[in-house]
Symmetry: C2
Amino acid sequence: MTLVRTTARERMVLARDASRQIGLLGDDKKASLLRAIADAIEADAAAIVAANADDLARGERDGLAPGLLDRLRLDEARVGALAGAVRDAAALPDPVGRVLDERVIAGGVTLTKVSVPLGVVGSIYEARPNVTVDIAALALRSGNAVVLRGGTAAAASNAELVRVMREALAAEGVDPEAIQTLDDEGRDGARELMHARGLIDVLVPRGSAQLIETVVTESTVPVIETGAGVVHIFLDETARADWAADIAVNAKAQRPSVCNSVETILVHRDAAERLIPDVAAALAAAGVTIHGDETVGALAPGVVPATEADWATEYLTLDVAMKVVDDLDDALAHIRTYSTHHTESILTADEANAERFLAEVDSAVVMVNASTRFTDGGEFGFGAEVGISTQKLHARGPMGLPELTSTKWLARGAGQVRA
Amino acid sequence: MTLVRTTARERMVLARDASRQIGLLGDDKKASLLRAIADAIEADAAAIVAANADDLARGERDGLAPGLLDRLRLDEARVGALAGAVRDAAALPDPVGRVLDERVIAGGVTLTKVSVPLGVVGSIYEARPNVTVDIAALALRSGNAVVLRGGTAAAASNAELVRVMREALAAEGVDPEAIQTLDDEGRDGARELMHARGLIDVLVPRGSAQLIETVVTESTVPVIETGAGVVHIFLDETARADWAADIAVNAKAQRPSVCNSVETILVHRDAAERLIPDVAAALAAAGVTIHGDETVGALAPGVVPATEADWATEYLTLDVAMKVVDDLDDALAHIRTYSTHHTESILTADEANAERFLAEVDSAVVMVNASTRFTDGGEFGFGAEVGISTQKLHARGPMGLPELTSTKWLARGAGQVRA
């Protein structure tokens, strides 16, 4: 018996061909498709959990870190949550077909700019099977086909989830080739995906800073960079002490492993004595270790001396860097040097300083007197989040479904020619 | 004497630093800056023309083709036109500071999405000195610094234009480092520009398909592809004969060297006898050579037999390919195979076919009963054109000043933390 196996490129061609059908589906059909996928995931929960158990067993044999094993794990409850997220995406408004501009030009030609699907969305990510379902659901909801390349440690889980989703598409009369996985193609699959200009319209890497850097550097397909967050809070001279402590603890300790958690707290020199002892105590009570400069060390107990490397570190743990700066200009200069352009917040009672900070900090989200943890598609009211873009083209900050669309100009004339 | 010469990288750092000042300039200041540049260009017209004469003399010695020499040439009138284009850009509305979204989230944090400059715009282009001024003016008008790498055949002209523009900035109290040229760095300059992630925010190549392909493939900086136009017109079964002849001639012969000129005309088989003789005669009268299939050859005199290569060719000359197709589906399939996703137009009296064409053709601009020559920033009412994007991310179709901006979310709170 000959086993016919499609190559990565063949699968991407199938996805591109299928994208034409997906792109023309109406709102209701796309929503019902997602509900069918959610139902199928719930119905096949046992098989999904069983496939995931294979991944977990292999991960344990291979000595995967406990944190990674936890991210990999799917139980019945987590499978239910996955299905719930797909139903949430089904309920979102259709991002396709919005009229974005209308004008009448020379001789009465009418121009209409409408939102259209991108076509085929590619994603390269790590061993988190929930991303497989998330990205597929958001891509389909916005009329796109999807080509997935997840971490090999989750290959069995992903294969099962893709099988379930593809069967749901077929049962709904939609071309199942709209969902493809290249997991079994190893590194070659990722490489082909990154070089598939003309087949893949956008590539969204999700995962570590290193993975994103590799994709951004190597890819010839346009990439949306969902980057690392070396996030800053600046406690200005006039920052309120109670807000400083509350926001520092919320921004650092609520969920340290995510990109919107604060990594460096800058403190105005003239407020250092007033603010640092209380803020440090509140952080310590939340289990946070402070890596501080000498002034910080003199004002709070248990401070680990900071080195240059700390200012550039995205800890993603219960650690935070703390540094005293001379003034707002000094804070802005520090942020310019070390920020990854994700989110920065100033705490101040000085309106002029607040406005300068908003205008001069070059980040996707710039805040005054608020926790950096608000940088999130859910918190922004988008209903779903494709990722948080730290680049400036196409999308910046939390991305919802509209960021998975492009535009097209429709021109309707009656024989007009250009003069 | 030691000559201190800045490297390409040093110049890009200077541009990035200067971009902070440019990005904070108000509408009036940016407009007056551009008017000062226009005045300076006119005042220094003689020096500019003299520098250009050096380029022309070298070009003639090197055997540059007459068309390229013409694109390179600047006389007093063309210098005046350059200054006029800069004044036109000065008069455009400021694309920065537009409020694009507003919302109030958890606990009363207000979110405002505003347009902001991209930062530093890079451009790689050929030996056309007008592009040097065009791109610099549009970048500055939208609050960006600019790093230019023009064709070496125009190096003397570009150097003079850049000198004049930089002196105008300095005279207006603005950091002249906001305009940089890497012309004297040869190929290395272009390579460094394409790899200057973190210094250059977007790269806009302008020129031949080969130049654009090189930039798209090699660049690690985000690129806006301003691509080639293998543009199609489909004469449907019910196309009006008079419109067919008028639009074919306008789309091909008015200015064959530009990307929105038609390259392939597809004709519905059941309309071939009715339409082809007259359309071919009108094209012949305009000096156009038709490269056609057998049916076309049988219906019109002087048709050159078309080969497979013709369907993929962007002639940019008084040549056009013509092919008979079975029906709308066949036309759509041909366009899918050969289109460069720039502009396609259907001529039809059938509304259902018109709507199918608009929905299914995957191009930046899709037209019904109109000349493809309308795909142009000026015709669209943008007042200026940065280029015509054939990619799907960030900008698609004719790009105006707003396409040289990014966005930023401003969040204003009163101590809120995430629940």
